[in-house]
Symmetry: T
Subunit: 71 residues, 12 copies
């Protein structure tokens, strides 16, 4: 077994009508459907849409890190 | 009708005793009283006051974008 | 009495299973046990662990400012 | 007459189907309809929409500087 | 149908002998051959080669955002 | 009365033949003629003109924050 | 043959008990097992674990660029 | 004697009614009361309060470096 | 012959009434009159003058890299 | 036992005549003499002295993170 | 006569026992002894030495721009 | 003798097949052939070429500071 690992980081954007944290959660759950071994997230940017003078959607840009299989 | 639009971005600071998201919401609702066509927000900075060893106020610095009338 | 104050800023990392705001709150409460006069916080970085394809912990890096005693 | 001037900087977003430079030009011409004494621009961000696998719109975020009347 | 979407951002570098905008266009068209639902681009860096004291190639580093299928 | 306030930040450029601090002061005094409730400033950039091998003008780019009336 | 190429950049994290350079090397070798045409790397971040008051692992975040096949 | 030293950097905020430089000086003098071996400062941020349309206080955020005793 | 090269980077500002790309081209051609072996450019900043509510000059700040003779 | 931890980050500068990695190691070992529970480091800045046209000392600015006792 | 100019920017560090502004002035005057056509300065970094718990020297890193002769 | 000095900073890129530190060393030694009084270096960027799935060259972008003669 290797004594060192290699990770990959991908950038995704999650959204939610509810909250910033929920936008993070949605991005992670959606990504986890096709990517294994997700280990951490980093918030890169936090933004959103305004509709009728109020928050329409929260949007959060994340980096997600996962271990490369076999590394 | 023009096939391109022009937007303006302004910078505001919202605050809330409740949450980061509520500070965003307060800034947007307050700005919407005097600015039409708000379309998006970008979080620039997130900070706050500490009172008696606990969070007093959340403060969020936002950029707010809106379409310039007639553009 | 002096007509000017001096402040110190320290950097801490709070965590929470619940929310980003709760991670901020935990860091402030824990720091307040040993540091007096905390006056403000600034969010430097927001990140966290992913466990089983969902958020495990929110982690928030903060700067905390406090007035230096006697200044 | 004063021996020093004061300027204000505002942030606008121009767009164009044609080119990056045209998006800059559109933002300046539109702003000049309501703001006098525009003196310089700074490109803050360059981006755009993709439509059917090709560029739909170029969008350029600019800062525009103008001298405050009477300063 | 979901009330929120998830997007992925990838980073590509386009080049062109003609212009900065053409380098952007080349990167988008090439990427669109294998990636569906491209929605926006962000210019990250603009650079190029110099050959014989003149511009040889423009090179533009872009982030490209697309909606994740099924999200 | 509201338990939270909303602030706006504007960006101005002050200049002075005398000093950096005087350029800040000039920008604030000029802005205060038309904007009420100015509460803080942040130095964004410090620069100037050179004339005959010496400093001609100091120029300071500032953000100025003020409370929105009625918030 | 095309007179311009398109490249993709991916972000990976390599680690090593030995050195910063070895962490870079491990990330490149591991990535090269599944990605062809790797042409350059850019160090984004350098960090690591501390174990018993000494360096446990060096970790280096890299961007890796490769030419897209057929471009 | 060791052929290499270790330094620590701390972050402080000085203020002054007089000038930017005086705010730096106040922070250094105040810190020197409790920290030995201060060797250098770096200005991180320059800001201040506005009172009645004029500068109330200058505030300067500094990093201060000092040699760790015995290193 | 050495198996490694050393390069120098210089910073120049080009301008043009025509376009951003032309401002880059002007800076490179002008610099090439006195500097040999120019190999690449990096756009650092893009800005310009506004005259009568329209673009007067595009100005582009570039870094230019060249191989040091004999390295 | 708490289900969340709080960490503190401090900034130190290590130096070495030998290598960048050795400067990191020296800073960590020196800090570990007085700080328990060091868990990770982040390289903030890498620099050094030049003596007689060659490297005199490598200097590395690090952030060091440790768990706060009892958290 | 050309309708466009090319400028070069160089980076210098000035110092002074007196003030930040004086450090800027010293750097400009010293540079003007060997460089013609200096037109503007930009402050990049402001720092200094601490001696006996007080400011020893102010040091300011500047970019200085000048028109290239014949452009 | 003057009680203050002026320094100039130049930007160079060193390379090496061996290591990051060796690329720094090569850049300094090559520059020292034509520039006197080099006093310090700052690493700006660390990157390199990949050849056959392994590191071909390390490349390090440095700023080098030297005292201006007579200052």
């Amino acid at each position: 077994m290797s004594d060192h690992h290699t990770y990959k980081k991908i950038e995704v954007v999650g959204s939610s009508r509810e909250s910033t944290d929920d936008a993070i959660r949605n991005a992670i759950r959606q990504t986890a459907k096709s990517v294994d071994n997700l280990e951490w997230f980093e918030v890169v940017e936090s933004r959103g849409h305004v509709v009728d003078g109020d928050i329409g959607h929260f949007q959060v840009v994340l980096k997600l890190g996962f271990r490369i299989e076999g590394s």
